[in-house]
């Protein structure tokens, strides 16, 4: 599923100040793409991820997921889009502390009208793919940072999304665990042709992507493609 962003602008009110987070941004995320968004803090990377992921709507412009105009959807429609097409990975893992790793991965499936058996199978597969099945019964507080982020990746892919949006996925990990997470994302992109969009400051993360978009002041200021 291609995602097209056309002339999108977004601003926020921050106290008394109006902050222009995105200004007339357009891009195409082709199905199976692996894109990194780089740039300083406040460049608009997270806002762009939020708009592509249907977490919010732009003030201006259009976003299409396939033929579907996301800007025309209501909150219910956007929720369904996120449910079936999008997986999110956050910087600080954001696992729910009262739930075990297994239950955290189950979260996106809880409201689905599938059998419990089918849901359990999906969760087991997702945990296997990130090599964390052996820690499934542990609470997040009992897991290392790397393990928590692997659980977060499993949660993001458990619904077999078309696109995974990762916001600083290695930001709180050491080098070794950061590499492990990027390996997982690469494999996901290669094996399932899942579109991956990663927002990061980390040059190694940026290098892992086939396509790098550099952002500044709410605009895409450059784009690089890597061979191979």
């Amino acid at each position: 599923m291609d995602i097209r962003v056309e002339g999108v602008s977004k601003s926020f009110r921050l106290g008394a100040t109006q902050v222009q987070a995105l200004s007339d941004v357009s891009l195409l995320l082709a199905a199976g793409d692996f894109v990194s968004l780089s740039g300083p803090s406040g460049a608009g990377k997270s806002t762009l991820l939020g708009i592509v992921g249907g977490l919010e709507k732009p003030d201006q412009g259009k976003v299409y997921a396939g033929e579907q105009d996301l800007t025309a959807l209501d909150s219910e429609g956007l929720a369904m889009y996120r449910r079936h097409s999008v997986g999110f990975i956050f910087q600080a893992f954001r696992l729910l502390p009262a739930l075990t790793a297994y239950e955290n991965v189950m979260v996106p499936l809880v409201p689905l009208d599938e059998t419990d058996e089918a849901k359990r199978k999906q969760v087991a597969e997702a945990l296997d793919r990130v090599n964390i099945a052996h820690r499934a019964a542990h609470l997040p507080g009992e897991l290392s940072g790397g393990e928590q982020q692997r659980v977060a990746v499993a949660r993001a892919i458990v619904n077999a999304p078309d696109v995974v949006l990762a916001d600083e996925p290695t930001g709180e990990l050491d080098r070794q665990n950061g590499e492990l997470i990027m390996e997982l994302l690469c494999r996901l992109n290669q094996d399932d042709t899942t579109t991956i969009v990663v927002a990061s400051h980390d040059p190694e993360v940026v290098q892992a992507a086939r396509r790098t978009l550099k952002m500044q002041d709410g605009r895409i200021v450059s784009e690089d493609h890597q061979e191979g």
């Binding site: 929720a79 449910r83 999110f88 729910l96 239950e103 996106p108 409201p111």
Partner: protein, 425 residues
Amino acid sequence: MIWSYAWKGFARRKTRAVLAVSGLAISIALLVAVATISRAVRSAVGTSLEAVGADVVIHRPVKPCLFEQVKLVGGLGEIDGGLVDAIKEIDGVRNVTGVLDLWVFSEGKAVASKQGKMVGSPTVVAGIDPAKKSIGPVRVEKREGEDDKSCCAVTEGDYLRSTDTFKAMITEKYAQAKNLKVGDKFPLGPYTFEVVALLDLKGSAHISGAEAFIPLKTAQTMYDQRNIVTTIFVSLDRNSALAPVTETAKRMIGPEADVTSEANMSKTTADLAAVTQRTLFAISAIVLTVVLLLVAKTALASVAERVTEIGILKATGWRDGDVSRLLTAESLFASLFGGLIGAAVGVGLAFLYGTATHPALPRTFVSYPECAATDPPKALPLDATPSAWLLVAAVAVALLIGCVSGYLASRRAAKLLPAEALRQL
């Protein structure tokens, strides 16, 4: 699956769960206890009338007179037996009987001390109409269409017959105290009576309770030969007959006539209890309101505390309705446990109250003097067992509070935009 997720969320946030559950439990416990005690006291008061099969009891209170061997029970005055016949004619009266309550001194006349107190130990005697077995102080037959709530049972011998004269039914307690059995003869004042039956008064106080029950005509003969009674028991087919009965009693006895029905008896007997009940009800209502506000505030606060969680749920495809169901389910778990625990604690409190409290009949209805040979059954039966519907209603109230707080939390959560929630990460 949302319910199972909600249960995990509820059970694993122990502090929040304990706070929510205990607040509700306290208020529900108070409600259950107050409602149960109130019902028990009302029922106990009603029981004293049901026990004698009457809806109305008529007395004529007077100042007690001493110095007689056979005298009226202290505080009760003479009522012309014609009133019984007059009441019988009133439309809506089902049954009526007159009783002559006497104190009979078997060993010479009663004397008064210098302080005006009675000296000597009388036998408490009630003259009853042997034909009236379903109404009066020795009620052994149940009224048509009601459960058996009669006060007495003949445990040995036979009930008095209309043709009997100097025969008596005595309580088991009195028989034990005087070493009497059926067929024995014993003195009552200047007369000798034969025991024809032993009675079990079932341990609770009732109106015109006595140690010996003799035929009314004989009692009247012992007193002063006239057609006199001291207490009239009236049962009604419909409540509208109460007014003409009262009017007739006032007309024939005078304004001092004391006409007692369940309504004014409750007032006399349960005045203190009523005040206590009203106070407790007021406290419960206040507590419930405070709990409702607290639960609502906690629910809203919980949304504020869980912005991150709600943001993540919405980011992973939960719709507003899904989040709403989750919050409502959690709230319902808290209220269900609060309701169940509160109901159980309320039952316990009511039981403790019922065990520790012994409501008594007003003095007017107790024929026994302090110096009687046997102790009268004093306490009214207080059954502080809550009805099933009360427990169901209590849990329902708790669940209603849960629904309200769940609804408020859901509304707040629905307004939360996922991107805004996640920006707070």
